[in-house]
């Protein structure tokens, strides 16, 4: 379904090699986040952790469509976006461990992952908090006549905050090169869509501002990638922002340790069998068992390496807390 963006007919075919790379990216994120859950439960990690298990195809599909100097802003569920945007998993895990080698040097934590050099303007623990910053970044690109796009990730829950509406209104009014990627996983933290959204088709939110929108199956990385390309091209060519609605599933709780009392007991189990984006892609490209095992081995080694890297990292001095308050 589209609201005025160029038809999907212009799709570019992705090679099996490229799709296999997407599979690897998604698997790295999956195994990384499972490791994060494991280390949190083991007591290694402090803080508040939110994993994106089940939503990897949105992060990878969108980020793989970006140009190197496009920028993103992420959410409290930030590991996937950050890794997909090019930050080494070592730097992300080291941040979880509060080390100076972390991508935010120990100042951020799981909900505040930054990598400005790679165009990650940071993840936000305020639902929707990063949206106007993306409008402003896109405005800067427009004023400087740079062919860059700014991309905001956020969830369905964020479409209920005032800032979402102010930001989309402003972005469309000024036709800035921004893409708003709504990861619609059906839950605002623990609250299901039926208790927080009076409409079913969230792309209507964009229609209200005269903004182009695309709706895509967020479990199909190729479809996400294709839609992201269309959205980015539209924005980059000066035609204004796009609302990209990716319908996805959170195959886990809101946070690590969430007992999920608000969900039917077998919902996650069932979704894991039918809506796992990694299984879907693996099947689609016909990954042989030995190919898969080889990939699993490689990713396992990488992820184990992140823990090793982080445990050997440098603890900040307590008084380092006073640095970086001001430039």
């Amino acid at each position: 379904m589209t609201h005025g963006v160029a038809k999907v007919a212009q799709r570019q075919e992705l090679t099996r090699e490229r799709l296999a790379f997407f599979l690897r990216e998604m698997l790295v994120i999956r195994r990384f986040e499972e490791k994060v859950e494991e280390r949190f439960r083991a007591g290694d990690l402090a803080g508040f952790l939110h994993v994106a298990i089940g939503q990897e195809a949105v992060a990878v599909g969108v980020c793989q469509a970006l140009e190197a100097d496009d920028v993103i802003a992420s959410t409290h569920r930030a590991h996937a976006h950050t890794i997909a945007k090019g930050t080494h998993p070592n730097a992300v895990m080291a941040e979880m461990y509060g080390k100076l080698e972390g991508c935010s040097h120990g100042y951020g934590g799981s909900m505040h992952l930054y990598d400005v050099e790679r165009g990650n303007m940071g993840s936000n623990a305020v639902v929707g908090g990063g949206l106007p910053g993306i409008v402003g970044a896109a405005l800067a690109f427009k004023m400087r006549q740079q062919p860059r796009v700014a991309v905001a990730f956020f969830g369905d829950g964020a479409t209920n905050i005032g800032l979402f509406h102010e930001s989309l209104n402003l972005a469309q009014l000024w036709k800035v090169p921004a893409v708003f990627v709504c990861e619609n996983n059906g839950y605002a933290e623990s609250t299901p869509a039926r208790q927080q959204l009076p409409i079913e088709d969230l792309s209507q939110r964009a229609v209200a501002y005269g903004m182009r929108s695309l709706v895509v199956d967020g479990q199909d990385v190729e479809a996400v990638h294709q839609a992201a390309h269309l959205a980015l091209d539209h924005a980059r060519s000066g035609q204004g922002p796009v609302f990209l609605l990716a319908n996805t599933f959170r195959l886990t709780g809101h946070y690590v340790g969430d007992p999920q009392v608000y969900r039917p007991k077998d919902e996650v189990k069932q979704l894991r069998q039918t809506q796992d984006p990694i299984d879907k892609l693996r099947e689609k490209i016909g990954f042989a068992q030995d190919e898969w095992e080889e990939l699993e081995r490689e990713v396992h080694e990488l992820v184990e390496g992140t823990v090793e890297f982080s445990k050997n990292g440098t603890d900040p001095k307590p008084e380092d807390a006073l640095k970086n308050v001001y430039a």
Partner: protein
């Protein structure tokens, strides 16, 4: 030296920065054709055009947030919040975003954003258009807070705020806009965090901000006729605060009164009093006096509004009380 009004001085500093630097631009409600609700940006649309003098929707959150995003990309946006009461709407973007991105990222970015706003009682708009909220923002590490009381200071401090690599909340006082004063022909950048001693004296220090600087100077004139010598210090920048100048003044006069238009309770004056007693307790010959608004919202009826905010009588009474106390 030219004679400019406070309003013209603000406009002139903005214009000089915009002539010199394409990265400087304005966003705000009614700032273009109308020239701002206080007329500060009058005529700037004609010179700089609608791309750089951006009329915005009534969206305080989004325009401050867009300023944050543009600033992170290296622009130097100046956002006008029409009344400082409405800074409460933008508070999330100021307090959780502008003030914290640099810190949360471990120092990966600078945020050269200036948010100008104004307020002040004396014209009976009621409870939502004239209060003084500068102390709120002084409580936020990562922000700088500037509050000039003269045209010259407004000029030099606004210039420095625009070229400051940290977010600055720049408070203007409504009743000062028509006030005339000397302004340098060329820009003379005034450092943030440096107080101005408006009048030297020996018997009591009055630390005053905004409109109350002029009230204190009037009181000083009156008391001079009685042979009492007041020293009037205007911090000009509330955060960071020039503690040294204030403490040195009290060490000379041995008495201190703090005066501002915002409510006294939990006010900026309380912080000044705490600093003075910590750093100059042995110098004090009397308890520190505090002058500010009474603890109620601003009422409409002019007779009530005049009662609530401080004037010469209140400053005079506080100074006399301090002077009468002997060790």
């Amino acid at each position: 030296m030219r004679e400019l009004t406070y309003r013209e001085a603000v406009r002139d500093a903005l214009s000089l920065a915009m002539r010199r630097d394409p990265d400087v631009f304005l966003m705000g409600e009614d700032i273009a054709e109308m020239g701002g609700s206080m007329g500060v940006t009058h005529g700037m649309l004609d010179e700089f055009g609608p791309e750089r003098v951006r009329n915005t929707p009534i969206s305080e959150m989004a325009i401050v947030g867009a300023g944050v995003g543009a600033a992170i990309q290296g622009m130097r946006p100046v956002v006008e919040i029409m009344y400082q009461d409405f800074s409460t709407l933008a508070a999330e973007q100021l307090v959780l975003q502008a003030a914290k991105h640099r810190y949360m990222s471990g120092g990966q970015m600078t945020i050269p954003l200036t948010v100008r706003t104004q307020g002040g009682a004396g014209w009976s708009p009621g409870a939502q258009h004239a209060q003084q909220l500068e102390a709120w923002f002084c409580h936020i590490p990562g922000l700088k807070v500037v509050f000039p009381s003269t045209p010259g200071d407004a000029h030099g401090l606004l210039w420095s705020s625009i070229y400051e690599d940290n977010p600055v909340v720049f408070f203007e006082h409504r009743t000062l806009y028509p006030m005339k004063g000397p302004v340098p022909d060329e820009v003379e950048a005034l450092p943030l965090g440096k107080a101005r001693v408006h009048r030297e004296g020996t018997d009591c220090t009055v630390v005053a901000t905004g409109r109350l600087v002029h009230v204190a100077l009037a009181v000083a004139d009156e008391l001079a006729a009685e042979g009492v010598s007041l020293e009037v210090v205007d911090p000009r920048t509330l955060l960071p605060l020039d503690e040294e100048t204030i403490v040195a003044s009290v060490a000379k006069t041995h008495r201190c009164v703090v005066a501002h238009e915002a409510v006294t309770r939990h006010g900026f004056g309380a912080e000044v009093a705490a600093i003075v007693q910590e750093q100059a307790f042995d110098e004090l010959d009397a308890p520190i006096g505090r002058v500010g608004a009474r603890f109620c919202p601003l009422p409409f009826a002019p007779v009530m509004e005049q009662f609530v905010v401080p004037h010469e009588a209140e400053v005079m009474a506080a100074v006399r009380k301090t002077l009468e106390r002997s060790v």
